[in-house]
């Protein structure tokens, strides 16, 4: 089946439906769907107010509070459900923004070359010289703890991966005869970049973005765990796990938000992997070059 489809050389702009035919991809997509529904419907399905300290403190799971309560008497199930409203949108926002920023910068570097290329890619190298979370930690600490600053920190550390991939794809694509012909027919550089070159870049970059959502969720929750993301009393998964550090004998405080992070990240990794497998090998290689 795969072989037959590959012989048709239609442009792969919409790789999604095919990738979702792999069973693991379907499982991943279903888990994501469940969390998205939970996030959207949180105010209606959560049994209690996530911020209200209205229950006895440190209740074990299984009683009135299905997943127990934390050190100040908040319902953990409600906090975990509401946590999806922070982690998911923020991680997606980080990924989409850094994808756009990185692709634009990488495309400019690859298309125009010379000084622009040098400047952009050396800055990218500099970001790569740090382990991701360390640079994000340093930036978030300098800007002060808040979700906005965690977003800025993540944006700064995430764009170079896309820039590298976009640059290498653009450098190959602009050699195509139809691109050269377009320029000869009078298309401006920007028109040519936008209309003839960028379509070659989009699907691998989208796959890379999907692969990176899981990492973004992990890193954002890491920042919150360090107290540099969500500010208390906000219900954020990373911050909730951090509560468990000081109350480790009450295992339920940290266990459930951690499981929430784990399931979401596994789901995005499953979808990302099956999307990558649906790309042709050369593009998949380019995508791997941009992963952290």
């Amino acid at each position: 089946m795969t072989a037959v489809e590959n012989t048709r050389s239609r442009p792969r702009r919409f790789a999604l439906p095919k990738a979702l035919r792999s069973p693991l991809g379907v499982i991943g997509a279903s888990i994501i769907a469940v969390w998205v529904v939970a996030a959207v419907l949180a105010p209606w399905i959560a049994p209690a107010d996530p911020l209200a300290q209205s229950f006895p403190r440190l209740q074990e799971p299984g009683g009135t509070n299905i997943l127990g309560t934390d050190a100040v008497g908040r319902d953990i199930l409600s906090r975990v459900i509401h946590g999806a409203r922070i982690s998911l949108p923020l991680a997606l926002l980080v990924v989409v923004s850094s994808m756009i920023l990185g692709t634009v910068l990488g495309a400019i570097a690859g298309y125009f070359g010379k000084v622009l290329d040098e400047v952009i890619m050396r800055v990218a190298d500099l970001v790569f010289a740090f382990p991701t979370i360390i640079l994000a930690l340093v930036i978030a600490a300098a800007l002060g703890p808040s979700l906005t600053n965690a977003f800025i920190a993540m944006l700064v550390v995430s764009w170079p991966g896309y820039a590298r991939v976009a640059r290498s794809l653009v450098m190959v694509a602009r050699q195509n005869e139809y691109v050269v012909a377009g320029r000869l027919l009078g298309a401006s550089a920007l028109t040519s970049l936008w209309r003839d070159v960028l379509p070659n870049v989009i699907s691998p970059v989208l796959v890379l973005a999907t692969l990176n959502v899981g990492a973004a969720i992990l890193e954002l929750s890491g920042l919150s765990f360090l107290g540099l993301g969500a500010v208390p009393p906000l219900a954020d998964w990373g911050a909730m796990v951090s509560d468990g550090v000081h109350q480790f004998s009450s295992w339920w405080i940290a266990l459930f938000p951690g499981l929430a992070i784990l399931t979401v990240v596994v789901a995005f990794n499953l979808v990302g992997d099956s999307l990558r497998d649906s790309l042709d090998p050369t593009m998949a290689k380019a995508v791997n070059g941009g992963k952290r």
Partner: protein
Amino acid sequence: MHPLARYLLTRLGIGVVLAFGITLVTFTLANLVPGDPVQAALGEQASANPAIVQQFREDMGLDKPLPVQYVTYLGNLLQGDFGVSVQTRTPVALELQRAFPATAELATAAILLSILVGIGLGLMAALRRGKTVDHVIRLVSLLGISAPTFWLALVAYYVVFYQLRLLPGSGRLSPGAVPPPNVTGFYTIDSVLAGQWATFGDALSHLILPGTVLALSTIGLLTRFARSSVLDVLSLDYVRAARAKGLPSSAVTLRYVLRGALVPIITVLGIAFGSLLSGAVLTEKVFAWHGIGEYAYNGATRLDLPAVMGVGLVVGITYILINLAVDVLYGFLDPRVRRA
């Protein structure tokens, strides 16, 4: 010039430039702070007095233009002056010096474990491609890269230490134990050097739990990479030739497949080490492991900027050195790299 020498010099040059880049990043960030550093350093009362503030700014060179301040900053760094921690009032360099060996020992243990297990699992999965073993290993490595390390640390601490009492859960030695005489800063190595076997056992048993937790995510990463790298090599002609001439399959696996697959695996070691250092920052607090990770955690939660910047610098430079070492190793092992 010999191609290998040229390759090594280029790598070294890039490393030096990046190291300067890192200092530029921390300097810029330290100057970006919305809060007034003068007020932070002097405290509420003293900063109300304009004369003291003026004097302080002159003393610290804060009245000079930024490029001059940067040169001063670089000079200070080179003399080992990383600033003073706002929280503890101790020089950051001193505290980092104390904390670094602890993290280095933990990270070394973790990287050795993950290389061993990761490559082993990757090889097993590739040789049994599509079989149950392959699927199980894939699932394990997926969980490894998807689980938040700081949460794994808590779970491991709770189950293995708090409930089962199988292994010690915090610190590098049991309470009351005397650290071995300092040679390398690694308690395991130092205790062996001093012949203190009881201390060695103690240090090793403290290392197991945090080391394993830290290794888990790296194992996931290395397993995936090793699997695809082995699969690439398995389909090469020289492997088929080795089989065709009747070599036993274990010999083919070890001498031909693994050796060919190791070279690309080395390239991801740098990335693996990066993820280990990140993991250390997030897990050391849980295990009361007094390394730079715990220092970073405390610095971050208390917004102690000089401390956080110090950790950023040290981790950044360490990461550059490790990548440099990886590049050098790669240059020696794969002649093609030198020509490129």
